[in-house]
């Protein structure tokens, strides 16, 4: 059984149809890259999978480990192992980063019937993860994302992912706005977490992240559908030819 099976997914935002019959299958252990031009529906896909309000699914299905993912509340999806690294992580003033992460960690464990960790046990776990991710522990003492630089916010997303250990990680333009050092650091974090039990869906506009996190599959998303799939060489082709060529060969409104 595949981990994630998306069939004929149609979704609307504010009455406008964005996803128009998207099909995608992801198996455990695989890294998939979703590429495409602005407005193609890349971020909508991430938001629909994580359960954000305002995204109306009008047709199709998403099956995750055999269950109907779309029927679950966002927190239930998280507890089931789905994680979204946000394109724009939210600043939450007054909520300490470590406190927040422990609340999330324990909430997920509670749903799964695992024992919750007290603050000492959790701090120990967090320190181990920080070491692996090469992240400064200064981030722990601050409010969630408050006053973080763009790079720090993205690193914090990857750090949360490392602590929460999801089965399916969706990275929404995690590479955008990063300088090359920050990009390498984020990529190293992702590579550390690659495992046969875990799958990644990397949504990206540019090919450069894929130099550091090499995907098993690359898909081109255009006008709400996956119009082309291939291996990592597809990303290089896109880099050379741009999305214009793809758009020409798959005109808008063409039947899926």
């Amino acid at each position: 059984m595949s981990m994630l099976n998306i069939e004929n997914l149609h979704a609307r935002v504010e009455g406008k149809e964005i996803l128009k019959g998207l099909n995608l299958t992801v198996n455990a252990g695989e890294v998939h890259a979703i590429m495409g031009p602005n407005g193609a529906g890349k971020s909508t896909l991430g938001n629909v999978l994580s359960g954000r309000e305002g995204y109306e699914v009008t047709a199709g299905s998403v099956t995750y480990n055999g269950i109907d993912l779309l029927a679950l509340a966002p927190e239930a999806r998280a507890a089931a192992g789905v994680f979204l690294a946000f394109q724009y992580p939210v600043e939450i003033s007054g909520v300490n980063n470590t406190y927040f992460l422990r609340a999330a960690f324990n909430a997920q464990r509670k749903v799964r019937g695992d024992k919750e960790l007290d603050s000492m046990q959790f701090l120990k776990l967090v320190r181990e993860k920080l070491k692996v991710m090469q992240i400064s522990d200064e981030l722990l003492h601050r409010a969630v994302n408050e006053g973080f630089s763009g790079g720090e916010k993205k690193r914090n997303e990857i750090f949360q992912m490392a602590v929460l250990e999801p089965q399916l990680a969706i990275l929404d333009e995690t590479d955008s706005g990063l300088d090359i050092d920050a990009l390498k650091q984020v990529a190293q974090g992702v590579n550390t977490l690659r495992s046969p039990e875990r799958a990644f869906l990397m949504i990206t506009h540019y090919q450069r992240l894929l130099d550091y996190v090499v995907p098993d599959f690359v898909h081109v998303l255009a006008d709400g559908r996956i119009v082309e799939s291939g291996d990592k060489s597809l990303a290089l082709k896109l880099e050379a030819e741009g999305y214009a060529g793809i758009a020409e060969s798959h005109p808008a409104g063409a039947a899926a």
Partner: protein, 452 residues
């Protein structure tokens, strides 16, 4: 002359005889204030200061004025403890001093702490100025009935240069009329058709001498569900260079109406830092009237009000800058849920001649239910030069993006709401230096959050 319509509340409060003091000027002041209360009754919503707080329902209620059995009401002393507050303690039950619950032995040097009832017997003259005041404004009804009826409260003085480190705790405890201690049957006097509904009044007089320092915690609590009307009027005088840290924790029962008024006068280079948490009560009103009368005086007020159920909590700040280079900052947060309502008015006046003053005020509010309401009104009047002033007020809902972020990490919706609401409130209490007390306030406000 227009006579106000007879109101059950006013009639009932006027039924009981005035307390007799045997002190001529005090009896006169009580009679005058009582007569003024009888003549003008209660303010209605046409009086600007009461625009958003209707007294219509309260005015139809009847209360017995004063509790003849206050000395025998049963009070669980363990309920009085507050974390981080370990100084002398004065406890007032239904407005009367209770020596058995208080601890005023071994007071630190420089601190005078007495119940008003005793201070009047020992030497009333120093209290004459405060207690012979005549209230003139249409909205002053409760100050008038308080001046006419209060028999107790605290008289607290800190000598010049004395530093009182351990916080002094004042507890105002509302006890049900039907909860008299075993073996102390309620006196016949309160065997009345409305015997369980009491009104009581307390009066505080607080003065810090030059360069004195004091930490003061005022606590309002109760046991059971007494249906009460309570008023408290406090005069607080800070002499030159004095510093007051003042925390108010209001968590009275949901059937209590509590009307408080604090008059604070700040002399040169004095400083008052006020933290307020308003949680309980049916109808709750606090008027803080502060006058910065000396150069370089400073006032910081921080507060959170959290009406829920059908509560109504009204906070009115009136801050007057009357001297050079005075500074005030006010930062208040309101959270209303269910069908509750909150009112916040922050009026700042920079008087002619108060050049170089700095006045800022912020009031942010959260509505957690479509049926909740908060009315906020910042006001600023400037009559001086080179003044820095800023004010702002907002009313909104929890941020949907933040809620989704927390939920996407596995935090259930209700927990996510509680986390964000708590953070919203804590932002203004975080500079309370007493850490144990600060954590306690946090726990109290978390306990009040909606559970569904």
């Amino acid at each position: 002359m227009n006579q106000p319509a007879s109101l059950p509340l006013v009639d009932a409060l006027l039924q009981s005889p005035l307390p007799a003091s045997g002190i001529g000027w005090l009896d006169t002041a009580r009679q005058e204030n009582r007569a003024a209360f009888a003549a003008s009754g209660l303010p209605d919503t046409r009086v600007e200061a009461w625009k958003y707080t209707a007294l219509r329902a309260l005015s139809q209620r009847r209360f017995v004025n004063g509790d003849a059995a206050a000395q025998t009401r049963e009070v669980d002393a363990t309920a009085l403890a507050l974390p981080g507050v370990d100084g002398p303690r004065l406890v007032f039950v239904n407005g009367q001093f209770r020596a058995d619950l208080s601890s005023v032995d071994a007071l630190p040097n420089g601190l005078t702490l007495q119940p008003l009832s005793q201070a009047l017997q020992v030497d009333a003259e120093p209290l004459r100025f405060a207690l012979s005041r005549y209230y003139r404004e249409a909205g002053d009804a409760f100050a008038r009935i308080n001046a006419a009826s209060a028999v107790d409260g605290v008289v607290l003085r800190v000598a010049a240069n004395a530093k009182i480190v351990s916080p002094v705790q004042l507890v105002f405890f509302g006890a049900s009329a039907d909860a008299a201690a075993a073996g102390h049957p309620a006196p016949a006097a309160i065997a009345h058709p409305y015997a369980s509904d009491l009104a009581w009044h307390a009066r505080n007089i607080i003065e810090l001498g030059e360069h004195a320092e004091l930490s003061l915690v005022e606590q309002h609590i109760g046991s059971g569900e007494p249906s009460q009307l309570a008023t408290l009027v406090s005069d607080i005088e800070l002499r030159e260079g004095a510093v007051l840290h003042y925390t108010v924790v209001q968590n009275v029962s949901s059937a209590t109406s509590l009307i408080r008024r604090s008059n604070v006068r700040l002399h040169a280079r004095s400083q008052a830092i006020l933290h307020v948490l308003e949680l309980g009560g049916a109808l709750v009103r606090h008027d803080l009237q502060a006058e910065l009368i000396g150069d370089d005086a400073q006032l910081d007020t921080r507060g959170v009000f959290m009406p829920h159920g059908r509560q109504h909590i009204d906070t009115q700040l009136a801050i007057r800058h009357q001297a050079l280079n005075t500074r005030s900052s006010s930062n208040w947060r309101g959270v209303a849920s269910d069908r509750a309502s909150g009112v916040f008015r922050g009026a700042m006046v920079v008087a002619p001649g108060a050049d170089g003053s700095d006045a800022s005020l912020s009031n942010k509010n959260l509505l957690l239910s479509p049926n909740a309401e908060i009315d906020t009104k910042p006001e600023l009047e400037i009559y001086a030069d080179e003044v820095k002033a800023a004010h702002g007020a907002t009313v909104g809902q929890l941020d949907e993006r933040s809620l989704f972020y927390l939920r996407s990490r596995g935090i259930p919706l209700n927990d996510a709401r509680a986390l964000l609401t708590t953070a919203f409130c804590r932002a203004v209490l975080d500079d309370l230096p007493n850490e144990a007390l600060r954590e306690h306030l946090s726990e109290l406000l978390i306990a009040q959050l909606p559970k569904t």
